[in-house]
């Protein structure tokens, strides 16, 4: 009875005055999946999420979110979605339990089930010790867990999470993602925006946004297979000199230093990338060991968000 698509957006755009924050975005998010939004600051992730939950009216384009048309009557949508804002938006002068209680009441959660549900969430999200603590005094990670607990309290079909793990340590991030997988398992669709590659890699599918434009989308695997770039790694004694030598070459799309290693992207239409790099090194008398590497999501990200002139070198 449910369509297999949770979100279907076509040509979604948003202008703020002269600024085009989101441009002609097409999006297909299957139900029960974790869908990632990867993009640098200001790429339009938050704006897109806000349009999808009816907070912002699109300048043009439409979306179908859980069967509700956007722009349209977002009221029908509210009970079905859970939204975790980028900025902590719960009440700092209320305790963890009071916040959960308020959310339960505002969503008209059945009265007799409220207490067990809140207890369950406190346990699941490891907030039992903070039960009576004022939300405003909690650590960043604790706040984020509370925000997630509040977003899922009413069993939403769709969760929109805007950078839920900024300000969270790696271990807590892993735990946080374990929670997301558990939710996805039970059929919740999750749209999550992030800056982190390791998080993007865990998504079932993801879209990469840059300057309001979707520059790539697909499963992490598909994206890695379709960078259009040779990926090479150089281990050099003097990585700084090596980087300078390589960056000079016209064929090179990007060089990034990662400790003693250099990560190099060369457009696929050049047939002999190793030779190009070695020649560059030799011409400056820099020694180094060049190898082909398999593309990571970071490479994908670098490849798709680079300036067009670098891409088409």
């Amino acid at each position: 009875m449910h369509s297999q698509i949770a979100i279907e957006a076509r040509g979604l755009s948003k202008n703020f005055g002269d600024l085009r924050a989101v441009s002609e975005l097409d999006l297909d998010v299957p139900r029960g999946q974790i869908y990632g939004f990867l993009g640098p600051n200001g790429s339009g992730k938050s704006t897109t999420i806000r349009m999808l939950c009816g907070l912002l009216t699109p300048t043009s384009g439409t979306a179908d979110v859980l069967g509700t048309k956007i722009p349209g009557n977002a009221k029908l949508l509210k009970p079905k979605i859970g939204y975790m804002t980028q900025k902590f938006s719960l009440f700092g002068d209320m305790s963890v339990q009071e916040n959960l209680q308020f959310i339960a009441e505002i969503y008209s959660y059945p009265k007799k089930d409220r207490k067990p549900r809140i207890d369950e969430l406190l346990g699941k999200y490891d907030l039992e010790p903070q039960r009576k603590q004022m939300a405003g005094t909690m650590s960043g990670g604790q706040k984020q867990r509370l925000a997630l607990a509040c977003a899922v309290l009413h069993h939403p079909e769709l969760l929109l999470l805007d950078e839920p793990t900024s300000a969270v340590d790696p271990q807590s991030r892993r735990d946080f993602w374990a929670n997301l997988f558990r939710l996805a398992q039970t059929g919740t669709t999750i749209l999550v925006s992030t800056h982190y590659m390791d998080e993007a890699e865990r998504c079932h599918r993801l879209a990469i946004l840059d300057n309001g434009v979707k520059v790539a989308d697909g499963t992490p695997r598909e994206l890695q297979a379709a960078t259009g770039m040779h990926i090479l790694e150089v281990i050099a004694d003097d990585p700084y000199a090596a980087q300078a030598a390589i960056a000079e070459r016209a064929e090179i799309a990007s060089v990034t230093q990662l400790g003693v290693r250099l990560r190099i992207l060369i457009p696929e239409r050049y047939a002999n990338p190793i030779e190009i790099v070695n020649n560059a090194l030799a011409s400056k008398n820099v020694s180094g060991n060049t190898q082909m590497a398999t593309p990571s999501l970071e490479d994908v990200f670098v490849a798709v968000t680079m300036k067009p002139e670098d891409r088409s070198k």
Partner: protein, 366 residues
């Protein structure tokens, strides 16, 4: 049903947050008390020990008795004696005294005559409060044990305001003060209500829940209605206890008028809150409305004496209508039924403002 539960949730949350916000909570009680004490004592100290000169041209036993009654009242402090009204005028002009009391030579006869004032008070009318005091003196019960006709005497004292023909009494000020205090606190509380949540980011969460604009608005102001009524009780209590402000009419009527007025101000505060983006802007806009409410509502200056344009502005302000109601009920013992237009204005104002506020507050960010 669901709507009621959501409304309840918002009210509960507001009360909870208010009880945690010590400063605001303190303001709820402190502000009306401090304001009425400030205003009340400012009025009250003027009432006592006004510098006075007396010219007793009669010198009879009756006039001397009147003089000592005056002294005993402590309202006046007789610093000089004079012989002629011209001398009194001179003292008044030089600012040596605020009041000059002239007991004419035919004092005894005047007391017996119902149609003539027996005493003349020369007042420095440039300070309206002093003029008010002089007016109060007129009501002073003055006993004359040897004057049999005194009981019929209506106007024993004739007031002649010198530099300001306008007459006011402190009793007139307190019902007005009630309006001003309620307006200030109610508007200040709600003007920041929505903006604060916008600034703190709570709003983005709230508008993504099923709560409707109307539920949010009504839920936010409801706790303050109770607070406003409580403040009304404080002001009335303090006013009566310390300053003997009469409530001649019905307290129930006063509370009906008060409720309508509180609701009107809360609605206005909410409208401000939806029209601004920061708490600072909300404060500025509140002050912008506060000023005319104090100046043009009839609180400071008699309404009928104001220029026509000022009167038009005054008519729009809820405070004007409440001051009419409160003065009517407290001082003139008017039943609220006779003050219908003002009451209906307040109710209408609330409904319209609240609707506009709820409409302005779209559940969107753009």
């Amino acid at each position: 049903m669901k709507s009621l539960s959501r409304l309840g949730a918002i009210i509960k949350k507001e009360v909870l947050q208010l009880s945690r916000d010590r400063l605001t909570f303190g303001m709820v009680f402190g502000l009306p008390i401090i304001q009425i004490l400030l205003f009340g004592y400012a009025i009250n100290t003027d009432v006592r020990h006004l510098k006075t000169a007396i010219a007793n041209q009669a010198g009879t036993h009756l006039s001397q008795q009147f003089e000592s009654e005056l002294r005993a009242s402590q309202v006046v402090h007789i610093v000089e004696t004079a012989d002629t009204p011209e001398e009194l005028e001179g003292l008044l002009r030089r600012g040596k005294i605020s009041l000059g009391i002239l007991i004419p030579s035919d004092f005894d006869r005047r007391v017996a005559d119902d149609n003539r004032a027996a005493v003349q008070i020369l007042v420095d009318g440039s300070d309206p409060t002093i003029l008010g005091v002089a007016n109060q003196l007129r009501n002073m019960p003055i006993r004359f044990d040897s004057a049999p006709v005194q009981a019929h005497k209506q106007e024993l004292i004739e007031i002649r305001p010198y530099y300001n023909p306008e007459r006011r009494t402190p009793v007139n000020i307190v019902p007005g003060l009630m309006g001003v205090i309620l307006m200030m606190t109610m508007m200040l509380f709600t003007a920041v209500a929505i903006v604060r949540e916008r600034e703190r980011g709570n709003l983005e969460l709230l508008i993504n829940t099923p709560v409707s604009s109307a539920e949010l608005m009504i839920g936010k102001v409801t706790p303050y209605i109770a607070i406003g009524l409580f403040q009304l009780a404080i002001i009335l209590g303090v006013g009566q206890l310390l300053f003997d402000v009469p409530i001649r009419g019905s307290v129930v009527d006063l509370y009906i008028a008060g409720s309508a007025f509180i609701a009107a101000n809360l609605a206005l505060g909410l409208l401000i809150s939806t029209a601004t983006h920061t708490q600072f802007q909300a404060m500025q806009l509140t002050v912008f409305i506060l000023m005319p409410s104090i100046l043009l509502s009839g609180f400071m200056f008699p309404f009928d004496g104001m220029p026509e344009v000022a009167q038009y502005i005054g008519e729009v302000l809820p405070t004007t209508h409440f001051i009419r109601l409160s003065r009517g009920i407290m001082l003139r013992e008017a039943p609220i039924g006779e003050l219908g237009p003002d009451l209906f204005y307040l109710i209408g104002f609330t409904v319209v403002t609240m609707t506009v506020a709820a409409m302005r507050f779209s559940k969107r960010l753009d």
